[in-house]
Each structure stands twice: as structure tokens, then as C-alpha cells.
């Protein structure tokens, strides 16, 4: 199975500290075996649909050998190797990813403002094309009635986290906006995470 693996700088696994052997001169990297007791301890990677959950400095295509266990947010195998680094993923794409997620959150909050009869505030938010403006406008909207103020606070945090370079945090908050915007439907969080992952896969040319 071909899957994806986010790693820290230098191809270091973010949770175990394991340094992955990287491919050399266009060939696949060497196979890495899980140390023991698969599937409790295995080689972990993710599908395209899981990408938004696992952001880190480097993104790699990885090959896992069968049997592969497909879990809710990741896949696990006893053996895997890195195939190639996804060249399009880096600080710039990470920032764009967080920004598009925050702009989606902006649209959700604007729609909620419209429903609450606060159309002028909605138009102000919709007029914000960058994160700086969006954060400032969201902070202004905090003076609104309670449910809307709470949404605006999410939005301000999403914009400010993205500006601070905390892109994973920002995208997480933006996804959380989907829940109260939809009247508390928790399935909207996962749906927004999937949308974020699709955006990323398209931008990086991973689809198909």
C-alpha cells in the first residue's frame, strides 16, 4: 500500500524520535521492520484523507507491506519504507494550508452571523482577504451576542495561530469552527478535516 508519512526535519519520526533511512538517488529507501508486537507497535502512516491530522515539517510517500491495518486516522503495518519526499510540502504550503482553512472558517462564521441577523458584521468578515485583517475583524466581532462571540473567538484564534506559524493548531481550530456553525453537529469536525485533507492532496498533486 502506498501511504503518506509526516516526519520532523531530518526525517525524524515525531513521536519516537526514530530517524528514517531516506531514499538515495531516486531509489526507494531501505525497509524498516517494526520492532515487535505488531500491530501494537508498527510502522504508522496515513492515507490522503488523514493528512490534515498529522502535519509536520516533511511529508513522504511511503510503502507499507501487507497486511496493512486501516485504523480511523492512520494505517499500520509491520514493515515500511520511504519512497520519495513530497517536494511541494514545506513552510510556504503549510502557511497556505492554514490560511485556506481559516478563510473557510471565516465563511462559516459569516453565514452564522447572517442567520443571527448580523449581516453588516458578516460582510465585514467576508471582506477580510488576509489573516491580519481577519484576526482584527474577528476580535471586533467578539462584542456580539454570546453564540456569535464564541465563533468569533475561534476565528480570531485561528487567524492569530496561523500568523504565529502554528499552522497545525490553526487548522485544528478552523475545523472546530465547523461544529458550532452547524448547531453543534460533531460530525462536521471530521468532515472539515477531510475537506482540508482534500485541499492539501490537490495542491500537492497527490490525488489519483
Amino acid at each position: 500500500m502506498i501511504a503518506y508519512k509526516f516526519l520532523g526535519s531530518g526525517a525524524i519520526a515525531p513521536f519516537t524520535g526514530f530517524r528514517w533511512p531516506v531514499p538515495a538517488s531516486g531509489e526507494a529507501g531501505p525497509w524498516v521492520e517494526a520492532r515487535s508486537s505488531f500491530p501494537q507497535r508498527g510502522i504508522h502512516a496515513c492515507r490522503e484523507v488523514d493528512l490534515a491530522y498529522w502535519l509536520d515539517a516533511e511529508l513522504w510517500r511511503a510503502e507499507l507491506t501487507d497486511p496493512v491495518i486501516e485504523d480511523r486516522r492512520q494505517v499500520v503495518s509491520s514493515r515500511g519504507r520511504l519512497l520519495s519526499r513530497v517536494a511541494g510540502w514545506g513552510p510556504e504550503m503549510s502557511a497556505r494550508f492554514a490560511e485556506q482553512a481559516a478563510l473557510m472558517a471565516r465563511d462559516r462564521v459569516a453565514a452564522a452571523l447572517d442567520r443571527a441577523g448580523l449581516a453588516p458584521l458578516a460582510r465585514v468578515l467576508e471582506g477580510c482577504a488576509d489573516l491580519l485583517d481577519l484576526g482584527a475583524a474577528a476580535r471586533t466581532t467578539l462584542q456580539s451576542p454570546a453564540p456569535v462571540a464564541s465563533l468569533a473567538e475561534y476565528l480570531a484564534e485561528a487567524a492569530e495561530s496561523a500568523l504565529a506559524g502554528d499552522h497545525a493548531v490553526s487548522a485544528y481550530i478552523s475545523a472546530r469552527v465547523a461544529v458550532p456553525s452547524a448547531g453543534g453537529d460533531e460530525t462536521e469536525f471530521a468532515a472539515e478535516r477531510e475537506r482540508q485533507a482534500r485541499w492539501l492532496a490537490e495542491q500537492l498533486g497527490l490525488c489519483g
Binding site: P14, Q40, D71, Q74, V76, V169, Y172, R176, E186, F189
Partner: protein, 88 residues
């Protein structure tokens, strides 16, 4: 920030960190644990500290503990056990 109910809270992560480091968390819990780390820098720092502490503590032989420190620790443990009811 309100977290997804499916995700761990920081407090839950702290409670599970020993099992995580020992590799005894069930796969689903391990996934939730690591997903939390993806967006929570304070918890990543906490995990780093716990790993480092475990590594350093593992190097410390009993003989390296000064006698006075050892006695103070044993005394503290005895008091703690008495204060908490001294269960078996």
C-alpha cells in the same frame, strides 16, 4: 480552545504518558494520544521532558544516591503511605 470530544485533553494525556512510553496503550488510544501531540506544543514539550527524565533515571544506580538523600526519600515515602491510609 474547546477540543474535539474524540481527542484527548491535556490532562488525559498527562495521565496516559507512562503507558504511552511503556508502549502499553491500545492502538486506538495511542492514535488519540499522538493526534493530540500534533497540535499541542506544551504536551510535546512535556513528553520530551518525561522521555529525558526516564532516560536519565534509568542511568542512576542505587549506589549513586547519597545516603542522606536515600534516607530522606524513604522517610518521605513512609509518611506518604501513612498519610494516604497505608493500603496494601
Amino acid at each position: 480552545m474547546i477540543v474535539n470530544p474524540d481527542d484527548l485533553s491535556c490532562q488525559e494525556l498527562v495521565e496516559l504518558v507512562t503507558e504511552y512510553l511503556e508502549g502499553s496503550l491500545p492502538p486506538r488510544e495511542r492514535t488519540r494520544f499522538e493526534m493530540h501531540l500534533c497540535y499541542c506544543e506544551p504536551c510535546r514539550a512535556y513528553l520530551r521532558q518525561m522521555r529525558e527524565m526516564t532516560r536519565l533515571a534509568g542511568r542512576l544506580p542505587e549506589e549513586a544516591i547519597p545516603a542522606t538523600t536515600k534516607e530522606a526519600l524513604l522517610h518521605a515515602f513512609r509518611d506518604w503511605k501513612r498519610d494516604t491510609g497505608g493500603g496494601t
